[in-house]
């Protein structure tokens, strides 16, 4: 068993736990320090596929998982935004040796998060540096059963995120801690930490103009997840993002480059495609 944060990530190649924001060179699978203006919002819908392998009992199970992540970010004030993440998941679990398949469908754990920007420096028209504090809560979903990522606790989340954009280059870093509050610590659930770093390069246009209506970015992310029960995973996640004035399209692949897990499945790969709409 593992805590929900780590689980959400797995579900969430790009959404469940506070990933996408939607502005500027912020990453696809991790938070950024940008947020919508007051009274405006961004809806992010991301269908995704995840392949899991070698999990209990006796490493005989594998699973194909299809999820749709719905995320709404809304600007409450100049420096404060709120974000809801709701993942809907369908899983098909297979047993090695021809065992009976198992299906599951429902809402996985959701999150609600407040982001408070405590530092902002805008030295030039297209340059900015921002630092935000994040606090929120993970909310148990409706699915449970065999799932390792259906938390029984309403877990507080706290962390920070840093973003800076310098011309065509964007850098982001964040760390989020989830405090497990459920009753299943003896089953392996624990507190968890996620930490991400990302670089985004604006492929086109090389220079903005008065007529710019869109921009294409190459994305490279490192997404790290650590549970205090000892589980840890590091993903390398390349992607592409096209940002127009009122919508964004993104695509990402999460590739595990290091996994040492005893309380949850190994992730073979995660693929996600997303669209974000401003309102």
């Amino acid at each position: 068993m593992q805590s929900g944060l780590l689980a959400s990530i797995t579900i969430a190649a790009s959404g469940a736990l506070l990933p996408a924001n939607a502005h500027a060179q912020t990453p696809i699978n991790a938070p950024g320090a940008m947020q919508p203006s007051t009274g405006t919002g961004v809806l992010h819908i991301m269908p995704m596929y995840r392949r899991l392998d070698s999990f209990e009992p006796d490493n005989q199970r594998s699973a194909d998982e299809y999820a749709v992540l719905a995320q709404v970010a809304y600007g409450l004030a100049k420096n404060v935004g709120i974000q809801f993440d709701v993942p809907m998941v369908y899983s098909n679990v297979k047993m090695a040796g021809g065992g009976t398949d198992e299906d599951e469908f429902g809402l996985a754990d959701s999150t609600v998060l407040l982001k408070w920007r405590v530092f902002q420096d805008d030295p030039a028209p297209t340059e900015t540096t921002r630092f935000s504090l994040i606090a929120g809560m993970q909310i148990p979903g409706t699915i449970d059963g065999w799932r390792w990522d259906a938390s029984d606790g309403w877990d507080p989340i706290a962390g920070f995120v840093f973003s800076t954009v310098r011309g065509r280059h964007g850098f982001n870093a964040d760390a989020l801690w989830e405090f497990y509050t459920g009753d299943e610590r003896d089953e392996g659930r624990s507190d968890s930490l996620r930490a991400d770093a990302s670089y985004l390069f604006r492929l086109s246009p090389a220079q903005y103009s008065a007529d710019t209506t869109g921009a294409l970015y190459a994305v490279a992310e490192l997404n790290g997840f650590y549970d205090t029960n000892g589980d840890r995973t590091l993903f390398f996640s390349p992607g592409l993002m096209y940002e127009a004035r009122s919508f964004t399209l993104d695509a990402t692949v999460m590739i595990p480059v290091h996994q040492d897990v005893d309380h949850r499945p190994e992730t073979e790969i995660v693929v996600g495609f997303g669209v974000r709409l401003s309102f």
């Binding site: 420096n79 028209p125 903005y208 008065a210 940002e243 695509a251």
Partner: protein, 125 residues
């Protein structure tokens, strides 16, 4: 697993196609000149406020500025030059908004207003 490379390739192709259709080419260095902000069919005598804004690092940033300014009563059209951060707000000749209204609108964005020249004011050098 065969799904993965196919889906990834399809998505990458789709993104590049969209970008090719919609992104605009870069402009010459001279784009920084104020003349690069083309007035969107403004009337000859229409008052225009000029705002200089920092931190608009993306197309959606400019969209946010556009949305907030258009919420102000008396703002009819907005044109944003992302390269220079220069924003032209075309105002109603009969009931133009005040400086305070425009300043307040930008305060609701997540960007920094550097300068605001109202119609009839002498621009600060």
């Amino acid at each position: 697993m065969r799904f993965v490379p196919f889906a990834t390739a399809s998505c990458v192709l789709a993104l590049f196609t969209i970008a090719g259709c919609q992104s605009t080419p870069s402009t010459a260095a001279g784009a920084a000149d104020s003349s690069s902000v083309v007035a969107p069919a403004a009337k000859a005598d229409q008052p225009v406020a000029t705002l200089w804004i920092n931190g608009m690092a993306c197309p959606q940033c400019s969209y946010n500025v556009d949305l907030q300014l258009k919420k102000v009563d008396g703002v009819e059209q907005v044109k944003v030059d992302m390269l220079t951060g220069k924003v032209l707000a075309y105002l109603s000749p009969s009931h133009p908004p005040t400086r305070e209204q425009l300043t307040s609108a930008i305060a609701d964005t997540t960007f920094t207003l550097v300068r605001l020249d109202m119609p009839g004011e002498n621009p600060t050098p």
